[in-house]
Amino acid sequence: MFPSRFRYEAPRSLAEAIGLLHDGGDDAKVLAGGQSLVPLMKLRFASPELVVDINNVPGLDYHRTDPDGTLRIGALCRHADLEHSDLLKTTQPTMAAAAPLIADPIVRNRGTLVGSLCHADPQGDWASVVLALGGSVMARSPRGMRAIPMADFVTGPFQNVLDLDEIAVEAVIPAARGTRAGGYLKLERRVGDFATVGVAVALELSGETVTRAGIGLTGVGGSTIAATAAAEALTGGLLTADRIGQAADLAAEAARPRTDHRGSAVYKRHMVRTFVVRLLSRTEAMAERAA
């Protein structure tokens, strides 16, 4: 298999890349890691006339924190960079748990977090993680830069709100006000398969009290789902067995799974509940040890 014919441009600056997209209109696509776009082009699900490869744009491969603790992940930061990041291991438990579960180790060398958000696959792991963390996407166009909350970024399966001449240049995770806790659990048939079910839990704790909670669900709907009612049920209290059970029930209710070859809708919903309980129980144990 190979893609249909396209014009290829490899700009050396963002301004040049945006100019190319502006002129390319509806028929242009940005190529970053290419681990979703190239397979789609080979299968001819995508046949862009212009491919704007941003891999030669310098200064986009970073992930770093601002002095206030805000985490920024550049458009060319690969999954493998995040998997091996000491910064994430020490400051971002949910992201550190998710990074080694993205695709497979070879794909992680090319694929990018920002690209994964843009691709908006309902089974994409990063979107749930960024949703749970209350993150956003910074997008640049000829009209300037804007921040798009992750909750507004995805509009449906494989659809996002970016304008045709807009490039997602970084993902932003706001600083935690309390101690971060949480994790990511993914049910997959084998390494590299899409998630049957994935659950991201991101908490901020002040002592043992939850001051902020976010729960993101992967693979159980037409897009990744923010289980907001479940997260609200956790906020402002201790992680008791009752509250954990209540949040798990609400998260399972928020899921919209469909029966397919990976499992029945009932099974997937049950796994959402199970994963929420597991992640929160683990956090509860950690909070107790710390207290």
Binding site: M1, R5, G34, M41, K42, P105, V107, V191
Partner: protein, 176 residues
């Protein structure tokens, strides 16, 4: 190097977008003219005749086409050839010297790390990247590093043993 392009009705030869790229493969400097849609795997196999890199699934699953680009393993069926402009590629052909097998190749021979052999080049290149970064991996490290490479014959046991054998030999050679 001769490259033959598919002809579409009504197009002139000038309509085929072609780019000239420079790269190094297994230590040898090359210049190639490629159509942007040419995949790296096709450049390696058809353009350069290096058929040790195998095409298995063609859908980014199996890892048989794994090569190293600037030392990092990538699935060459999922990267455009134009993207290796200025970069360094290593394929399985670059492992052995004229007279000596690479310890990884020896390991696969000693520990019976292959049956049909189709996945082997990809396994070896993924393993090479692992051993370059971590000369003393645990069995768990090896299994993790090879989890993007599928084998339908061996059940993986002997592949893991082969890589651990190679790691031990490389460590002995470097005297650590």
């Amino acid at each position: 190097m001769t490259v033959v392009y598919e002809d579409h009705e009504g197009q002139s030869t000038g309509d085929v977008p072609v780019r000239r790229i420079k790269f190094t493969i297994n230590g040898q400097k090359m210049i190639a003219e490629v159509e942007p849609r040419l995949l790296l795997a096709h450049l390696i196999r058809r353009g350069l005749g290096l058929t040790g890199t195998h095409m298995g699934c063609d859908t980014t699953n199996c890892g048989a086409c794994t090569v190293l680009v600037d030392g990092r393993p990538v699935k060459s069926c999922t990267m455009l050839a134009v993207q290796v402009d200025g970069r360094e590629i290593s394929t399985v052909e670059g492992l052995a010297t004229a007279s000596e097998l690479h310890p990884l190749q020896e390991g696969f021979k000693e520990e019976h790390g292959l049956q049909c052999g189709f996945c082997t080049p990809g396994m070896m290149m993924a393993a090479k990247a692992l051993l370059d970064a971590n000369p003393d991996p645990t069995e768990e490290d090896v299994r993790w590093a090879l989890s993007g490479n599928l084998c339908r014959c061996t059940g993986y046991q002997n592949i893991v043993k082969s890589v651990l054998w190679a790691a031990a030999k490389l460590r002995a050679e470097s005297g650590s």
